[in-house]
Amino acid sequence: MHNERINIDLEANKSAVAYSIPIGPTHPALKEPIRFSFELDGERIVGVDIKPGFAHRGIEYMGMRRNLIQTLYLSERICGICSISHPLAFTMAVEHAAGIEVPPRAQAIRTIIGELERIHSHILWAGVGAHELGFDTLLHLTWNVREKVMDLLESLTGNRVDYAIPIISGVRRDIPEEKVHLAAEALDYYKRLLQDLIDAFLHDKSVEMRTKNVGVLTYDEAIALCAIGPTARASGVKKDVRQDWPYYGFADMEVRAITPEDFGREPVGDVYDNIIVRVLEVAQSIEIIERCLETMPSGELMSIPKIPALLAALKKAEGEGIGRHEAPRGEVFHYIRLEADVEEPVAWKVRAPTYGNLMAWVPKFLGDEIADIPIIAASIDPCMCCMDRMHFVSRDGDQSTRLKEELVRLSREKTRRICG
């Protein structure tokens, strides 16, 4: 299982290094703070150290001080892009812990919104990837077509991000008949667009030049380092929660993990394979949503429709549960423990996809060039704010206040100096 390229002990190969270059915590290639220290030999990367933690906000800690309904919306704010994935996993964990059933129609609606989010997330990723390659035109064109699914989500849920749709025991809004045609229209739009996406990303010479055999994660490495989501699937690892452990609407349909083989390419695990998987998953999501819309069961939306009753039931609940959801970036995992007569969760652990793919970055970077750093960093579709959730500014509250005052004083002095 072990491969010589997997080098956990990064300190060991620092000796023969020409120079090092820091990328982050803030850098134009990174949309969110993380620090990479690259050891370079010319343009070639021979070592990498990753230091996350700059976006820690203490969400689990905050969650343990709020009741479960408040925590639900807190979980939604773990990440703005997968803003349905965390609530879905969270509600699943709570429902499993408290033994609450979810009506079939609510399950279907959760599935639909989750898959719509996958479409928008993958298109967003494609744009970011293009930007990292210096191909801003594709960024603007892809983000333009992404508006369609954002508009659809807005009209279905009421919000463009942070949809606030799932609630423990069901969903908050129905998809009525008059809105189904909106969804159908948007899906048709994306079906027509799919070939353009394939042409622009998979058949474009300059994209191919920059992505083939760049950022390779082999099959064995992907398994050993527990890579998840499209990152793992690009290496040919058929891992997909919707397939292995089908939940909600996926239980009734046979979702297959998409690998580059579906595009007729032997999986290499490079950035090009990542693009293949994500583009094909857009097509897969369209199919899933259509299927859900066709076979949407009728019935109620929440098994406990009254909020006071729900709060009471949650307060009484005692138990532990896990929730899993295949987010666009990979599996989201929530563990929760509830105690009777306590409104807050007693223990809450969130595992976001980037956390799982953190280790996979190392072999992807090694041996490639500086020019490949942005696209490799982007290839796992990282989301630091998902991964980092806990932060303590200072051991001493007073110290941090002084620090702030110091900064204000310095900047004022500088302004005076410039203005003369």
Binding site: I21, E132, G134
Partner: protein, 332 residues
């Protein structure tokens, strides 16, 4: 040709100012059209002027570890070098101001100076990003200079075989006055087309524009060479980039499409000259549009080894082939 010193200074100032203005206007078009092609509105056409003014009033920061005098000197050298080329460029029907004092080889040297200046400035900044950028600029320079030199020398050599001995074939004025398209056979025309293609490919590299913007590569090395530059210094680099765009465009126009409309329209005097100047601007715009704007929105950034390979193999091969065809054309 006798030009009084006073006159020369006046004309020189006009050319400098005109070149700078034109450069910024073309930059404005570049941003606007690129935005339009990307489905955006883009900044107003006068945005580059705002940018220069803004940068001029901003603080000029020199990093603590930088070699101060080198760091501050390089933007000036860069702008001075490209501005000097302006004096060697034929504008419409006008002969270049300094046509008698230098030739194509000098232009070739002057064109390399801004890149060298940026390189030295990058190393002087002593930041890892700037150093990586400077190394990349070095590789770029070595890659595109060769096909560029072949194209320019090839043209001059072919002209020397046609004009009477003793003509200054390396003078841009002479080259522009005797367009080769009509003077060579069919094979020669194919050769010329290949040389023109090579020059058009070199243009975005010379200007460090996508797909060849690797020394600056915003997403990779955060602006590279320019990472540490700010305020006035950055404004000077910005201006020299703008002027260089005009210079490269005008070079292509002078070498390959130096034709005027005044003869065709039967206009003489001031009207004819004005028509030629306008036509020159149109030609300049077309060249910049084709070789810079469209290319920059239509490609992803290449890697440094890919750039080197591109210029050393296909582009050099193209220019050699062009040269060969010109030679064969002379023999038959």
């Amino acid at each position: 040709m006798t030009v009084s010193v006073g006159n020369a200074v006046w004309q020189g100032l006009i050319i400098l100012l005109g070149g700078g203005l034109l450069g910024l206007v073309y930059k404005g078009f570049d941003r606007k059209l690129a935005a339009q092609m990307q489905g955006r509105i883009g900044p107003p056409l006068r945005q580059p002027f705002f940018d220069v003014v803004k940068l001029m009033v901003k603080e000029n920061i020199v990093p603590d570890h930088a070699v101060g005098w080198l760091f501050n000197l390089m933007p000036v050298i860069s702008l001075a070098a490209v501005a000097t080329i302006l004096f060697y460029l034929p504008l419409g029907g006008y002969a270049p101001l300094l046509g008698g004092y230098g030739d194509l080889v000098l232009i070739l040297y002057l064109l390399a100076v801004p890149a060298l200046a940026m390189m030295v400035g990058g190393f002087a900044a002593s930041s890892p990003y700037a150093s990586v950028g400077a190394q990349r600029e070095m590789v770029m320079l070595m890659s595109y200079e060769f096909p560029l030199a072949i194209a320019l020398v090839g043209l001059a050599w072919r002209l020397s075989t046609i004009l009477p001995a003793g003509s200054s074939v390396f003078s841009l004025g002479v080259l522009a006055a005797n367009p080769l398209w009509g003077l060579v056979g069919p094979l020669g025309i194919v050769g010329l087309a290949l040389l023109m293609l090579a020059l058009l490919v070199v243009t975005p590299a010379e200007l460090s524009k996508i797909p060849f913007d690797i020394p600056e590569a915003e997403t990779e090395i955060a602006g590279g060479i320019l990472a540490e530059y700010s305020g006035r210094n950055l404004a000077l680099f910005y201006l020299s980039d703008a002027v260089k765009t005009v210079v490269m465009g005008a070079l292509v126009v002078a070498l390959f499409i130096p034709y005027g409309l005044s003869g065709l329209a039967g206009l003489t005097g001031a009207a004819g000259a004005a028509l030629d100047v306008v036509f020159f601007l149109v030609k300049l715009f077309v060249v910049v549009f084709v070789s810079v704007i469209v290319v920059r929105v239509g490609f992803a950034r290449l890697k440094v080894n890919q750039v080197a390979r591109l210029f050393w193999l296909p582009v050099t091969a193209f220019s050699f082939l062009g040269l060969l065809l010109l030679a064969v054309d002379r023999v038959i």
